[in-house]
Subunit: 415 residues, 2 copies
């Protein structure tokens, strides 16, 4: 018998019917003898409705009061889910953030969890009750209501699982797991049985929106086994763990991630002197613009070209700053290009498998995709390419790394 | 400079526009230098929407969870009102029941306030902030959310005023005060400047729905000056106080109250023996049916007739019980009559003015209204009449006691 934390997002509890469906799922786990803590989001649409009311009054609502307002959304769901469980003769009790008590700092609308008191939840679990907790919220040390920001319910679930030393934290979503790549782009995209936290972080940071990065980091830090699965279909989902699959035939690559939301800026003919990178990127950083991939070419006559990427929405602002810097450095030209995309192969296996990079570059070359920039980490290789080649590149890499083949089949082939 | 508690009901905060209007009112009081604590209800319709969600899941929702659910309604209003005050550059801070802390017993959906901690509110008031409190709710000693039942926001306001020793508790409603009688029945009905708690209780118990009886009792017990006034129109409203107007020309009668919601039951020919009243009314009381007016006639041959009134909705149940009792007592007949109404003249002045009863009976006799039953208290005389004469009776008594004349005019006339 295990202690399981289950999190259901807004779509999963978006109507009375769906709440009843969630209650069926929870009741079934309970009847199998598991201890269950459920974390719920606000019913879909509710948070936006509340923010709409606030903005009809204040363009930028007071953060403290905005938290008081939106925290009601999750509280409503906890009560309704408990009623649905009671109807199924499953004992259950709702908690808001303050009742648990989930202590946070006082950074309203983006608070961070500092401590979770497990006493009240333990008492209920020991008494055989399901504990239903409002996600996304806590209280500061003075009892003011705080919220954790968008996606905060995932973080709540992981934090509760860590505090309770749960056997597993299950995140129910509208997809049935983590895929080798976006199934809308590659027909053969395949659900992964397992993925490591590190891989998941790289996939998530590339726009694979299944889980909030923060929740994955949190789970990794506290070694909470995390499982992503569907609210609407049966299935084992994808388990996210610390353990790397170290079998002989373990695949080197877990998946192909991509991101269309970047743009490229190049400044040509800047002096190739120490400190020039800082002179160029310093003002960008001060404007709170995040820089992703950076490339410095050696040019002619002690001059260099400097290229970097930013989020597409920051392009205009970054370009204006860069033009000022370029003038100060007597650079010859500034070029902006929003029509790029980033494609990455991700996998902890590449640490021990040589040749992942060359296999990647060869596959792209064979279909005529030109690589503009390259960036690597221990478990990821990313390339910046022209946006129009994105789908082609993703499909090509998915096949090149045999991601459309089940691992068992690979083994069979190897034998 | 006074400390004022202001309560705004659901209609007064029923939309963003109305919340803005309430903020204007509160801001104006604050700018005049008063300390202000505001108690708000849920936006009109919101409580029913939430109960609807609950009942879609459970026919009789679990009381603890129903409280968790509906308490969110008031919390939403507190946040929105604070935002509207901030927009007007008035410092303000919201509180839910647990944050104040309003301690109640654990009778979910009908909890009673046991203690109010004024520490947090005092700190804010001392710092020049308006305190905005969610009405209708509290927490029990274990931190479970409780609600006070329908109309509980009035009770919250009075309880806060008592705890803070406020100079006045203002209840904003959709009427501009307490009237001598229902203006829909009598054109000449007049707003009262002042009324005592006792009179208000008698008026309220007769269906004058301006204030919850419980809040009036509470205010009377703690001597909190209570003012009823309109959210939508300017005006002084009606002040409800302990003090009786003892001037020479103080009117004996404050108003005429009435109630259509009663029905009459008569059992004829029961033995006129000790204990017969208990034998008849005991089973009625055990069925939780409240009895209002009771009349026992002496009949012929040691037999008596016994008549009483109940709420009209209880008539069928009460009649069934009475028929069983009548059979056991060998009574000759049971009669039920839903077509009655109760009309009362109310006024603390009748304690010192003789002749109120005879003036009442004479006036009704002159217009041919037959009195079926009479019931009196120290400050009230009620008669049960045939329902069709109700409006005639009310208009007749309103004139007979000169309630359509302003008190100043009465004085002028007397001089």
């Amino acid at each position: 018998m295990a202690l399981i934390v289950q999190k259901f997002g807004g779509t999963s509890v978006g109507s009375v019917e769906r709440i009843e469906h969630v209650a069926d799922k929870v009741a079934s786990f309970r009847r199998h003898g598991h201890d269950v803590v459920v974390v719920v989001s606000a019913m879909s649409g509710e948070t936006n409705r509340l923010i709409g009311l606030a903005q009809a009054i204040q363009e930028h609502p007071t953060p403290r009061e905005l938290d008081v307002l939106v925290a009601t959304g999750e509280q409503v769901t906890t009560a309704l889910l408990c009623m649905a469980l009671h109807k199924r003769e499953v004992a259950a009790r709702s908690y808001n953030g303050g009742q648990v008590r989930i202590l946070t700092d006082d950074a309203h609308t983006k608070a961070r969890i500092q401590h979770i008191d497990d006493h009240n939840m333990r008492t209920d679990l020991d008494a055989g009750r399901v504990v239903v907790v409002a996600g996304f919220q806590g209280v500061d040390e003075h009892g003011n209501i705080t919220t954790l920001g968008r996606g905060g319910s995932d973080t709540t679930a992981v934090a509760l699982a860590a505090a309770l030393k749960a056997d597993e934290c299950q995140i129910y979503t509208d997809v049935d797991g983590v895929y080798t790549t976006d199934p809308r782009v590659v027909d053969g995209a395949r659900r992964l049985e397992k993925i490591t936290f590190e891989e998941m972080l790289e996939m998530a940071s590339m726009g694979s929106k299944v889980l909030q990065i923060r929740a994955v980091e949190f789970a990794g830090k506290y070694a909470v086994p995390l499982r992503v699965l569907s609210s609407f279909e049966e299935g084992p989902g994808t388990l996210i763990t610390l353990e790397e699959d170290t079998g002989m035939e373990a695949p080197a690559i877990a998946g192909i991630a991509f991101n269309r939301d970047e743009a490229k800026l190049t400044v040509l003919g800047v002096p190739d002197t120490p400190g020039v990178a800082y002179q160029i990127l310093g003002p960008i950083g001060e404007a709170n613009i995040e820089v992703d991939v950076i490339l410095q070419n050696i040019g002619e006559q002690a001059k260099t070209d400097f290229t970097f990427t930013v989020a597409r929405g920051d392009l205009a602002r970054a370009e204006a700053i860069l033009r000022d810097t370029a003038a100060a450095l007597s650079a010859s030209e500034v070029r902006a290009d929003p029509r790029i995309a980033k494609v990455s192969v991700v996998g902890v296996g590449m640490r021990s498998h040589a040749g992942v990079a060359s296999r990647m570059f060869k596959a792209l070359a064979e279909v005529g995709v030109n690589i503009q920039m390259i960036s690597t980490s221990e478990i990821k290789i990313s390339v910046i390419i022209e946006e129009k080649y994105l789908e082609l590149a993703v499909r090509t890499l998915h096949s090149a790394f045999e991601l459309d083949v089940e691992p068992e089949d690979q083994t069979a082939k190897a034998v």
